[in-house]
Amino acid sequence: MAKDKDKIIDKVTGDDYKYGFYTDIETETIPPGLNEDIIRLISKKKNEPEFLLEFRLKAYRHFLKLQEPKWAHLKYPPVNLQDIIYYAAPKKQKEFDSLDEVDPELLDTFNKLGISLEEQKQLSGVAVDAIVDSVSVKTTFQDTLSKHGIIFCSFSEAVQNHPDLIKKYMAKVVPYTDNYYAALNSAVFTDGSFCYIPKGVRCPIELSTYFRINAAKTGQFERTLIIADEGSYVSYLEGCTAPQRDENQLHAAIVEIIVMNDAEVKYSTVQNWYPGNKKGKGGIYNFVTKRALCKGKNSKVSWTQVETGSAVTWKYPACVLKGDNSVGEFYSVAVTNNYQQADTGTKMIHIGKNTKSTIISKGISAGKSNNSYRGLVKVAKKAENSRNYSQCDSLLLGDKCGAHTFPHINTNNKSSIVEHEATTSKISEEQLFYCNQRGISTESAIGLIVNGYAKEVLNKLPMEFAVEAQKLLQITLEGSVG
């Protein structure tokens, strides 16, 4: 009985990654390796101001003193940083006036991913800053945004056009001294997104960037900076897929968000990078530092993430609740299948008075994967009347996978209340038979049950993204979840 069920689960969860393809675009690269000369070369190629080169070099010199962290519940072979190419840009690098001028192969890639820029432009009202191999190729909706005074562009453009803002805000939330990967990113980052919402502006459209790793052996070191000025609001979407690849690819991004008085930022991610094949070969290593600073009073940040990809995920989107009455939220669904490993969670740092945070984490493990929630709720001395509610659920498919929870709570204020709930469950044979008896195949049944389990989080995503996320869960468990 149990064996038959395992067979079904194996079948359902054992399918190959469906987004594996490789685009043949001419790419300009520099030699592999990591040293000061390479960093100077990157900075020069990007025509950066002096302060940025100095920042990179300081970060690099600090990085040399650091050791790779080993505390996460992850096992992977060491990455040789000298084998990595730190800069790759599509060769045809001029500005495009219309999509006709964009490399048709690139457009085709987007089409395969179901994110054709044309469609995006016409139908969904989403401005897309599409990133292929580190350099922004096409930015849409600039006109609409600029009417509201919103700046939404690639990080490189921001460096050229708004160096003052970069200088003022960059690395203020995640300093290069923060951790090993943050230091590495600060030294060698190539591009990313920049967003500034001026005072009192409610961004009329969802801002979206699609990341994609494409050139062989190119580590991606993206850097995103979002600043929401007083009383502003923005919903920001980040989604990614990567082509199938045999070699492990390192990804170490930084996302920084700064939220002023009465402002709100909603940051949603759907992550579907190549997770490696069924035997655990290949796949992306994803070491990301994401942090939001609720600097002003009554400010608010929500992180919503659906993590289905990568061979290794190391990611803890955090909120520093500095302003009084500020609010931090973290909603996460992390799916692991085959030999995938995820160590993900959040940090909520309560500093201001009456600060509130909510953590809803849903882990789903299948195959021989390992899925860990790791969280920290810290309440500082002066954080009077602060509150946290955490709920961490794990769902197991089959009996060869693992689910782990590592919650850390550290409170220094007696008036604060911290609550933590955790559950672990399995999809039962009775549930599957009940679905089967109504004519629903086991694969669809697992999909239904998993989407039902993750609903609380999926509901937090913007509409179009929620549909995409549901499909992804489906693919990951067909693929991973039906």
Binding site: M1, S428, I440, S441, S444, Y453, E456
Partner: protein, 253 residues
Amino acid sequence: MLLNIRNLHVSIEGKEIIKGLDLSVNNGEVHAIMGPNGTGKSTLAAVVAGKEGYEITEGEILYKGKDITDLSPEERACEGIFLGFQYPVEIPGVSITNFMRTAINEQREYKGLKSLTASEFLAKMEDKKKLVEIQSKLTNRSVNSGFSGGEKKKNEIFQMALLEPTMAILDETDSGLDIDALRIVANGINKLRTEENATIVITHYQRLLDYIIPDFVHVLFEGKIVKSGGKNLALELEEKGYEWIKEEVERMS
């Protein structure tokens, strides 16, 4: 003949539960299967529906003239076999609407029919809700999650109404129902009755048969049907109790 079970023997983990059972059901008929606890009533229902873990050691189950023992549970469902569960399972986060739309469309796909659109499905659902006096809010709730006993059973009949099966097997659908819920559930079953479909009602008590008038009543005892008759057999059983059957069986052997 719609369902023809011949000399069925079923074991669970090596233990024989059904020991040579024969049963024939024609289109348009309602059969009641009664009997004391642990005689194999629920096992029979599960085996016809194709639940895993039951080993058929002898005999066959013919449905519409074909042996169905090699079909998966979902194939049997798509062929028109419906099981009303004694203990409907909870599926958190999955609304009844979503669940039933998936079920109907998977069944339609099996039959080579086009999926129902959202509005077609909702119209159908509104129509069937009235049949079992189901409240609108219920269909937005997760399948069976936090439902009362009565709500769970109503939901089973509601699903039956939506799926329009040819062969429905209702396993103790009356258990745990108060008299009002029993009336609603029974009325629903009666309204779904046609010349084409058939129903097997598995029950412990005669009282359900005050509302649903069976064409045949069978008594299942120690894995076999030991006595069959008309609706009066149920009354006789109610009066004399299952001890009477035991004695009859012993006298005959």
